[in-house]
């Protein structure tokens, strides 16, 4: 379980996170949503220790990340996998080498077993035929899948995804969403996703956290979003006509059910 207690982060006196309290449940797909500039990425960077908060605690099963030494943080990071917005695959390595790299650095397995594990991870994301290619030779969706394979190679407890669908077409976005969701269930990971994509929210979001101007404005499940009366959340979620219509349809269905 990851618990955030009164998390604050300022840059040059400007407060970006204004005291956030969140509990990310174990084995679930947690989504952080919010407008651009609301503090989502800063929150994620604090969670993985790439930024140090100004105030507050980040507890990983009771271990406070904000008070960890560099060595302890390194150990904790071995339990984390991360899918970056731009995939962040190593340009100089092939797709296979990218997936093999964390295993080579940290896994106690034999070389043969490491190769087998890397191949398994590539198979899991349907990239077994593309292992020999360099990141510059594959598509954006394939890059995301390769990055997921790399993130899960060490069997992490926590998976972080920063805008996993950015720059992808709707169909590929669905594939990535399903992959993340399936992997979360398969490995009982705690997954935290930063996203703008409302399709992802509706498809895979088990717990949703809506951040507005550095504060946690709303939290709940994807079902609860539909019936929420939070104005800021509604403005954000139902900004598109499509979702407005979906909500209207759901409400109409609900009222007809109540009448009958």
């Amino acid at each position: 379980m990851i618990e955030i207690v009164n998390l604050k982060k300022s840059f040059d006196g400007r407060e970006v996170l204004k005291g956030i309290d969140i509990v990310f449940e174990e084995g679930k797909t947690n989504l952080i949503i919010g407008r651009s500039g609301s503090g989502k990425t800063v929150l994620l960077k604090n969670l993985i220790g790439l930024m140090r908060p100004t105030e507050g605690q980040i507890l990983y099963d009771g271990r406070d990340l904000t008070k960890m030494s560099g060595k302890d943080l390194k150990e904790l990071r071995k339990e984390m996998g991360m899918l970056f917005q731009g995939s962040a695959l190593f340009d100089a390595m092939t797709v296979f080498e990218n997936v093999y790299f964390p295993l080579e650095m940290f896994s106690p397995l034999s070389k043969k077993e490491k190769v087998k594990r890397a191949q398994f991870c590539l198979d899991r994301v349907n990239l077994s035929e593309s292992g020999h290619l360099y990141p510059s030779e594959i598509s954006g969706g394939m890059m995301k899948r390769a990055a997921i394979a790399r993130a899960i190679s060490l069997n992490p407890k926590y998976l972080y995804c920063d805008e996993p669908n950015s720059g992808l077409d709707p169909q590929t976005s669905l594939v990535i969403d399903d992959l993340i969701h399936d992997i979360t269930k398969e490995y009982s990971m705690t997954t935290i996703i930063n996203t703008h994509d409302m399709n992802s929210v509706m498809n895979i979001g088990e717990r949703i956290f809506f951040i507005k101007e550095g504060n946690l404005e709303w939290s709940g499940t994807n079902k609860e979003i539909m019936s929420s009366t939070n104005e800021a959340l509604n403005d954000f979620v139902f900004a598109s006509d499509l979702f407005k219509k979906v909500k209207e349809a759901e409400m109409a269905e609900e009222s007809s059910n109540t009448k009958s």
């Binding site: 993985i48 790439l50 390194k74 071995k78 984390m80 991360m82 962040a88 650095m105 060490l154």
Partner: protein, 248 residues
């Protein structure tokens, strides 16, 4: 400006503290080291040979044209050319050229990794990114730049010899005699030792600018330019200090 200089020096020192630690996996470090020698060193051999050959030839022509006088001994051209090539051209000027070629390569490579979050990805995995990326570059340059400098000395002198032989600007025997006159082996070691210091400057300064690059491709370009400017200035300052220390 002073504050910014102090801040950069502090940042550089802290980065070096992260760099000079035991590699997390020696086999990975050795593989990176060999790859960097190949990429940064071996790939620079041709440019070193070409530049040194022609500059060596030009030095001989210029000296011959400018100090040709009945009162000067005929071996002066060979002697002076050798001293210039060994003492300053092959060690200092060649390292300034390498600061441009190799330094900008290092800064842009690490800078691109920074802005595309590849360095963050390493950190998230628990890899000491500074040590993993920078130490092999420092080690490979400090090993291979002295080799390039030795190549440069040899090619510079061959260039001078060739211009005497083919350009017929002076008797080859006089040039050879000059090359062998008053030779001090220490000068060669002095030049090689200087190049080790310069290799350290090139690799660490370029890595520093790349590692702390922020923004996009424009900022990476800027970091690369700044690294070349800063390493060139530092090489010249170090040259003066080392010359005073070792020759003074």
């Amino acid at each position: 400006m002073l504050l910014s200089l102090l801040e950069k020096t502090g940042q550089y020192t802290l980065l070096m503290k992260k760099v000079f630690t035991k590699p997390q996996k020696m086999s990975v470090f050795l593989r990176q080291y060999i790859s960097e020698i190949n990429k940064l060193g071996v790939d620079s051999i041709w440019i070193v040979i070409i530049i040194s050959f022609f500059i060596g030839a030009v030095i001989v022509v210029q000296i011959k044209l400018n100090i040709d006088s009945p009162i000067m001994p005929r071996f002066t051209v060979g002697y002076t050319s050798r001293e210039i090539i060994i003492l300053e051209f092959s060690s200092t000027i060649m390292c300034l050229i390498l600061a441009g070629k190799v330094g900008s390569n290092i800064a842009s490579e690490i800078g691109t990794m920074r802005v595309t979050e590849q360095i963050d990805a390493l950190e998230i995995m628990g890899v000491n990114s500074a040590n993993y990326l920078i130490l092999p570059k420092i080690a490979s340059l400090m090993t291979f730049i002295p080799v390039l400098v030795t190549f440069s000395m040899f090619c510079g002198i061959i260039g001078g010899y060739a211009v005497c032989l083919l350009g017929n600007i002076m008797p080859v025997a006089d040039f050879e005699y000059g090359l062998q006159s008053f030779f001090k082996q220490f000068y060669v070691w002095y030049a090689i030792l200087k190049s080790v210091f310069f290799a350290y400057i090139i690799s660490t300064v370029a890595s520093y600018y790349g590692y702390f690059a922020r923004g996009g491709s424009l900022d990476v370009g800027k970091a690369s330019t700044n690294s070349v400017v800063m390493s060139s200035v530092l090489i010249l300052v170090a040259d003066l200090l080392l010359t005073q220390l070792m020759m003074g």
